[in-house]
Symmetry: C2
Subunit: 289 residues, 2 copies
C-alpha cells in the first residue's frame, strides 16, 4: 500500500474541481486505483469558483496531469482548454481535462461511461429503439454518444421542458446520422414511447435520494424484453429499477455508468488499464456508508 | 502511517514551486511530518515557469493551502501575493506563500531559519560582531533577520561584487537600526574582518558540491571563541566547517538552517508544532543517499 511518504518531485497530480466537491467519491476511487497499481500519482479535490483561473493554474503547475470537472463547471471549462473532440463539442460539456506537453485537452467520459455500462451488461444497442427520459446535461452526453457510436434504430426523447428538449433533438439531428424523435412528456406520450422502446434510459433526478421511492414510469408500461437503465445511483436501486426487476426486465444501475466514467478518466490520466474491481469496491463501500 | 487512500475532499495541498524542482527534498520532508502527526495534508512538487499563473491557480483551487517557493521565483512571487511583512519587503524575496480566506500572504523563512539554527546551537547574537561572507539573496535574508531581531553590535559584509554589496549595505542601513559595515572582499579586508568577528556566516557557494574541498577562509584567520556558520549543506560538513572544528571553534551547519526553514514553513502551513526530529531524520537520510 502506498504511503504519502512515497510522494516525490516526480509525482503527478490529478484533482476534481467543482462547487461543491465535499461529497465527491473521486479522491477515494482514484487514489485506491493509483495505490493498487503502485503508480506515481496522487488525486486531490479543489472547490473552485473561477474555472478559468483554475485551468490557468493547471497549465502553470507542471506535474498537474488531469482534472475531473464537475458541476457547475462542465460547460464553462470547455472555453478554456486547447482541444476538444467533435462529439464533446456537440455535447457542449466536458468532465475531464488532460494536460499533455502543456496543452489542455477537454473530453467527456459520462456518455462513453454509459455506453460501456450498457455494453458490459450485454445490451445490444445496434438496431434498437432507445427511449431517453429527460433532456438535460447527462441525457445530452448519453444521447450523442449512443447516436454516434451505438447505431440505434431510433432515439426518442421525452422531457417536460420543451426548450431543452427541442434543442437536444435539433442538435442530435444536425450532429449525428441517427433517427431522432422528441415529444413533450405526458402520460400519453410516455405510454406510446414505452410501447415502442427496447432500451429505456432514465436521465431525470426523479427517484434520487432524498426523494427516493418514486418513479416516472408506471409499472403497467413495462414490456417483456425491455432493458431499463437508470443513471440515478443514490439509492443503488431506485424504485424504477426495482419495479422493472419485479417484472423480470434486465436492469442496469447508474452506479455502473459512474464507475465506468471514472475508469475512462483513470485511463486518460495514467495511460494504463484501470483496476476496475478495486474502483468498484471503493464506490460500493462509499455508497453504503 | 498515512496511506494515499486516506486523501479526502477535505485534504489540504501544499507544494514546492521552482525551476528545477526535481532534486527538492521538500515533498519527502513535509509528507513525513504530515504523516507523523496524521494531519489531513499532502505535499507535492510543481516545476513552474510562470509564477503569476501558478499563484493564480493557487487562489482558484480552494484546498491549496501553502507553497514553498524556490529559485528562480523567490523575487517574482512577491509581486503576486496580497500581503508581505515589512522585513520580507526589505529582503526583497519570499520562500513561502500561505492562503488564508482566499488571500495570499508571502513570507520568508530562510532568515528566521538561520536565526533559529544559531539560537538552537546556543549562539548569542546580541552585542556580537557578525561577519557575513557574501551579499546574495541568502545573505540578504539572514542579514535583515539578524539586524531586525538579533541585536548584533555590528554586521560587516564582504563580497567581491561591489554592486550587490553596496545595495545590501544601503538597504540594511535604511531598513534597520543596526550598525552596518561593508567592504569589497580581498585578502586584507577578510583578514581584518576576521580579526573583529565573533560570528562568521558564510553565504557564498564556495565549498558546495561538486566544488567541495575549498574554503574562502584561511585557517590562520580563525580566532578562539568564534562561531562559524556555513549555509552550504552539501557536503554536510564543508571544508570551512571542518577547518573551524579542527581549531576548536563552534560550528553550525547549513543543514540546521535548511531544517528550520522547513520547520517554520510547516508551522505556517498547519498551525501546529512541527515534528522536528522526524523532519531532521528525513533530511539526513536524503542527504546521505
Amino acid at each position: 500500500m502506498k504511503n504519502i511518504r512515497s510522494i516525490k518531485t516526480s509525482t503527478r497530480i490529478c484533482a476534481i474541481i467543482g462547487n461543491p466537491v465535499a461529497h465527491s467519491l473521486s479522491p477515494a476511487i482514484h487514489n485506491a486505483a493509483f495505490a493498487a497499481l503502485d503508480l506515481d500519482f496522487v488525486y486531490v479535490a479543489f472547490r473552485v469558483e473561477d474555472v478559468n483561473q483554475a485551468l490557468a493554474g493547471m497549465r502553470a503547475l507542471e506535474n498537474f496531469r488531469g482534472m475531473s470537472v464537475t458541476i457547475p463547471h462542465k460547460i464553462e471549462a470547455m472555453k478554456h482548454v486547447d482541444t476538444i473532440e467533435d462529439v464533446d463539442r456537440h455535447i457542449g460539456s466536458i468532465n475531464t481535462v488532460i494536460k499533455d506537453n502543456g496543452k489542455l485537452q477537454g473530453l467527456g467520459t459520462d456518455g462513453p461511461g454509459a455506453l460501456k455500462a450498457l455494453m458490459n451488461a450485454g445490451v445490444v444497442i445496434n438496431g434498437k429503439n432507445v427511449l431517453m427520459l429527460g433532456a438535460g446535461g447527462a441525457a445530452r452526453a448519453i444521447a450523442f454518444t449512443l447516436a454516434s457510436y451505438g447505431g440505434p434504430a431510433a432515439i426518442e426523447i421525452l422531457d417536460i421542458n420543451e426548450t431543452i428538449l427541442q434543442q437536444l433533438a435539433t442538435d442530435l439531428t444536425a450532429g449525428t446520422d441517427s433517427v431522432i424523435k422528441s415529444n413533450k412528456m405526458t402520460d400519453n406520450t410516455l405510454a406510446e414511447a414505452m410501447a415502442a422502446a427496447d432500451i429505456v434510459i432514465h436521465c431525470t433526478p426523479i427517484g434520487m435520494h432524498p426523494k427516493e421511492g418514486i418513479s416516472l414510469v408506471p409499472v403497467a408500461l413495462f414490456r417483456p424484453g425491455q432493458v431499463i437503465f437508470d443513471i440515478v445511483y443514490t439509492p443503488l436501486e431506485t424504485k424504477l429499477l426495482a419495479d422493472a426487476r419485479s417484472k423480470g426486465l434486465q436492469v442496469v444501475s447508474g452506479v455502473e455508468m459512474f464507475i465506468h466514467q471514472a475508469v475512462l478518466q483513470f485511463e486518460q490520466f495514467t495511460g494504463v488499464d484501470a483496476p476496475i474491481e478495486v474502483m468498484r469496491r471503493v464506490v460500493m463501500e462509499q455508497l453504503k456508508l
